[in-house]
């Protein structure tokens, strides 16, 4: 390892014409590239002195072949100077702060002193454009200054008023260069320019460097035609115009033609440097595609910095669609055979494993089935030469194999891989899994690991990376494996846990008291770890019966004690504890579920109280085991009953429909009544509100209550026999509000938290009278999704729905950019061994991480110690 180095200073400067000529190996004068034989023209753009890209040729400068030759710069002598677009703002500033006659800074020594302040050692003050008043007289030579106008991209002109008329005089790059040349070094110092490395006249190009051919290689198309790089095309343009310019100049062409050619040369040099300058039409390829010139190579997401240096494409990675497999462990990932055959892990051949490795080589690169032993794709000789294994050469290579060789072995079951889904927003977006080779063409994963990846199976794709060294595998397994990441550092609770059907299933299984026969109990626990049933809780007519709580307790570790309220808890004023009619009081005593229903609060992702306790008491491995068991048990549980939802699950009886209609009618007439009070001027405004606001708030309140009432009516009819109610109560998916909207009434549609008011003059739609303030005229929907919406209701619903869509779109882009800035600011900080947070330079950001030194992933939902949980566990009762 090399020792870290501290950067003393970085010097930024400009290339002087002298520097450019010095680094140049060849003056380029011809715009042509290759002659008819395909050989580069001497002094052409592909001159052999500039490096070689064709195999077989040698570089005339360094005598290396293509690949070894780094390439060398050439240069073009420009007929007249042109402005470098990247420095136009600097040029503008310098022209404005210096005298047009003597080129001195437009300030007297006294004024400079006043601006800079007292000269002490800390002073780093510089003079800016603002310090100099416009159109003043030079304090050095007394010359009257003129206003300098700058027009994008590269035009400078002087403006003055003569006899009431504005007169403009264009400055040529040569004029500007002459002015910049005369600025004294000391004056530049005051402006923050070090004249030793950056004389300002060097921003006006007199000689143009020609980059080596290695950075603009030409490609040979299938039909044998050469296709040149965009940069070469641009350089051809520059040389052509430059040549024509010179000829005209020598022939003494009229000033007008010279000026036109000068401008054309300026355009070509400008677009060569940057093809996206404002006020300049981009140079285009014959096909009409804008050329990718120097600045475009560096800029943006796919530019050199963000695309090639900060991020690259990698080997040993795979990507395909994901699909669920609840029978996998959460720490596993199913990999298609085709992927496993293509990807490999290097194995060092030693005297101890040579027979095993030889067997792999003999198996060759085509593994036929998922159960077959793995083969190998490459054998690497001690001299690092790679031999690709084919069906033909396996035997000969296997013969040659001896210690010191390496073999690229195909993936096999239990190999460790990194699994990733973009956007990688937190560290759980990349986790290490063990692979299981499977048929099919998709990656398979346990649905319980979807929350940390934020994955679903509507066509999501995920990436897989194979660590290639022992160190990488160890690091992946110890730091990044799924079980190490169950607890989120975001809030100190489990982020992996049961989702959707897992929660519905475990709810159905554990709710109330039910009894199972031996075969039923075994069927439920079939795929779980425990392999012995405890003694039956009761014997009914000679048949031993196990309770549902007993079955669930099988997957709990011994010695677990917990008391808490499930998410189905209704928060009664006085808790009835064990006698709760909703069975929401969960009590676990010595690893046995005494009472209560297991639901989202117990095993759900982001909540997972039981899971959290198991991890803290028994460790990560036990936690993983529990998730695997609980997901398998719950899937069996939900299958035991069957679980489905259909349109007739939203049906209510005639009584309920009558009641709902009554509620809505009353609400509507209540709204009418309030509007009448308002119109009669009898309405009392609420403190701090106008009359209109008060009325709106009252209406919203009345209608909101009405909707909730319909929900209550519907809820009374729909009990736990209804699947949607089970899902809402257990926390698996949806809420009672969703059910209200399906069966009862959709309620008020809103835009920005208010009733819909936009549309036509004083009305939302032409279906209503002007000034109608009634419920239905402003987006109250009386119907439910089941009963169907009227056309006006449907339109209001679309208005409300659109707002939600726009909000999501805006939020994701904004939070994405915020995230990027955060990562860039914080990426190099680390917690040192003494607990302080430091930058790479050892500078301290926090003296103790988070001021209390607590790892949030090991905290109890933010608190360093879970006092209540520990006390309850010891006392085995609620505190």
């Amino acid at each position: 390892m090399t020792s870290p180095k501290r950067i003393g200073k970085i010097e930024f400067g400009l290339l002087s014409p002298k520097d450019i000529r010095k680094m140049s190996v060849r003056k380029i004068i011809w715009a042509d590239t290759y002659d008819d034989d395909g050989f580069p023209y001497p002094q052409g753009l592909m001159d052999l002195n500039l490096g070689v890209i064709d195999p077989g040729l040698r570089c005339k400068t360094c005598d290396n072949r293509a690949g070894d030759c780094p390439g060398h710069f050439g240069h073009i002598e420009l007929a007249k100077p042109v402005i470098h677009v990247g420095y136009t703002r600097l040029i503008r500033k310098l022209l404005r702060v210096t005298c047009r006659g003597c080129s001195r800074l437009l300030l007297s020594p006294e004024e400079i002193k006043k601006i800079l302040g007292p000269a002490d050692e800390f002073s780093e003050d510089l003079i800016t454009e603002k310090d100099i008043k416009k159109e003043r007289v030079c304090p050095h030579c007394g010359e009257q200054q003129l206003k300098i106008n700058f027009e994008k991209p590269t035009t400078f002109s002087e403006v003055w008023t003569e006899e009431g008329r504005k007169t403009e005089h264009k400055l040529t790059p040569a004029d500007i260069r002459a002015r910049l040349e005369k600025i004294p070094d000391e004056d530049l110092r005051l402006l923050g320019i070090n004249a030793v490395v950056a004389r300002p006249e060097w921003t006006i190009l007199t000689v143009l460097p020609v980059p080596p051919v290695t950075m603009r290689p030409s490609i040979i198309l299938e039909n044998g035609q050469r296709s040149e790089d965009d940069l070469t095309h641009k350089l051809v343009d520059i040389i052509r115009i430059n040549q024509r310019f010179k000829e005209n100049q020598d022939a003494g062409a009229p000033q007008l033609i010279i000026e036109d050619l000068w401008e054309l040369l300026q355009y070509h040099v400008t677009t060569y440097l940057d093809n996206e300058v404002a006020g300049c039409p981009p140079a285009r390829h014959r096909s009409g595609r804008p050329l990718k010139t120097l600045s475009q190579r560096l800029k943006g997401k796919d530019g050199r910095f963000r695309g090639s240096l900060s991020g690259k494409r990698v080997n040993f990675s795979a990507r395909t669609v994901i699909s669920p497999d609840p029978n996998l462990s959460i720490s596993e990932v199913g990999v298609p055979l085709a992927v496993a055959n293509e990807m490999s892990v290097p194995v060092q051949v030693t005297p101890f494993n040579i027979e095993e490795v030889r067997e792999m080589v003999l198996n060759g690169p085509d593994r036929p089935t998922i159960t077959a032993p793995c083969g190998a794709n490459y054998a690497i000789r001690p001299d690092r030469r790679r031999l690709r294994l084919t069906d033909i050469n396996t035997e000969t290579v296997a013969e040659m194999l001896e210690p010191g060789w390496m073999v690229d072995r195909q993936l096999r079951n239990n190999d460790i891989v990194l699994f990733n889904r973009q956007p990688s927003l937190h560290r759980m977006s990349i986790m290490a899994h063990r692979i299981v080779i499977m048929d099919g063409k998709t990656f398979r994963l346990n649905p319980a690991v979807c929350p940390p990846y934020n994955a679903d199976f509507d066509g999501d794709e995920m990436n897989l990376h194979v660590p290639q060294t022992e160190e990488a595998r160890a690091e992946a397994y110890i730091l990044a494996s799924v079980q190490e990441n169950i607890l989120s550092p975001r809030f100190g609770g489990p982020i992996i846990g049961g989702i959707h059907d897992h929660i519905s299933g475990i709810f159905l299984l554990t709710h109330g008291k039910r009894w199972f026969t031996k075969s039923e109990s075994i069927a439920l626990l079939k795929h779980c770890t425990p392999n012995h049933l405890p003694d039956a809780e009761k014997v009914e007519m000679g048949v031993p019966m196990w309770s549902n709580k007993q079955v669930f307790s099988m997957i709990l570790p011994e010695g677990l004690n917990m008391v808490y309220k499930a998410s189905s808890c209704a928060n009664c004023e006085v808790c009835k504890k064990e006698l709760c009619e909703r069975d929401a009081y969960v009590k676990i005593f010595d690893g046995k579920l005494v009472c209560g229903t297991i639901d989202k609060k117990s095993i759900g992702a982001f909540d997972g109280a039981i899971l959290n306790r198991i991890i803290r008491q028994y460790g990560m491995a036990e936690g993983r085991q529990f998730i695997d068991d609980v997901t398998r048990l719950s899937i069996r549980g939900i299958m035991h009953e069957g679980f489905s939802f259909g349109i007739d699950d939203e049906d209510l009886t005639r009584t309920e429909y009558g009641q709902i209609d009554d509620v809505l009618d009353t609400a509507e007439s209540d709204v009418e009544r309030r509007i009448k009070i308002y119109q009669e001027g009898q309405l009392e405004p609420m403190p701090g509100r106008t009359l209109d606001e008060t009325l709106e708030m009252q209406i919203m309140q009345v209608l909101g209550k009405a909707r909730d009432r319909t929900g209550e009516i519907a809820g009374r009819h729909l009990g736990l026999s209804n699947s949607a109610v089970v899902m809402a109560v257990s926390g698996a998916r949806g809420s009672m509000l969703n059910l209200t909207q399906m069966a009862g009434c959709l309620g008020q549609q809103s835009v920005r938290g208010e009733r819909i008011v936009r549309g036509y003059d004083e009305r939302t739609l032409p279906h209503f009278k002007k000034g109608d303030r009634g419920a239905d005229a402003h987006g109250f929907i009386k119907n439910s999704y089941k009963s169907g919406l009227t056309p006006t209701e449907f339109f209001f619903h679309a208005i409300g729905g659109r707002e939600g869509l726009v909000d999501t779109a805006v939020r994701t882009s904004q939070s994405g950019y915020l995230q990027r800035r955060m990562i860039n600011a914080l990426q190099d900080l680390k917690v040192a061994y003494d607990g302080s947070v430091r930058t790479t330079g050892g500078r301290i950001i926090q003296f103790t991480y988070g001021e209390d030194g607590t790892d949030p992933a090991r905290s109890a939902f933010g608190d360093p110690v879970d006092v209540k949980g520990i006390v309850e566990n010891v006392l085995k009762e609620e505190v």
């Binding site: 800390f122 780093e124 500078r843 301290i844 003296f847 103790t848 001021e851 030194g853």
Partner: protein, 83 residues
């Protein structure tokens, strides 16, 4: 009635104290740092002015912390760069 008030008396201003040379060298040795690795505070910070700190002083700031109850941090007084 005076128009000025003591910033240090405000509830939201944590306790600032200039550290003695001895304390500073202790601090540097416990964290194995030099003065440039410390967080900075400007010389014209109202609290620094109130305790009359000068450039080069190290100031100990004791805050009430949400997580730890009481948290200490140290800052080096530097000159505020102009503009």
């Amino acid at each position: 009635m005076s128009t000025t008030f003591d910033v240090l008396q405000h509830v939201m201003v944590p306790d600032h104290k200039i550290m003695s040379e001895e304390e500073v060298s202790d601090l540097f040795s416990t964290y194995q740092i030099t003065h440039e690795q410390l967080p900075k505070i400007y010389h014209d910070d109202p609290a620094v002015k109130a305790i009359e700190g000068t450039i080069g002083d190290v100031i100990k700031i004791v805050r009430v912390s949400q997580t730890a109850g009481r948290a200490e941090s140290y800052r080096l007084v530097v000159r505020r760069p102009k503009k």
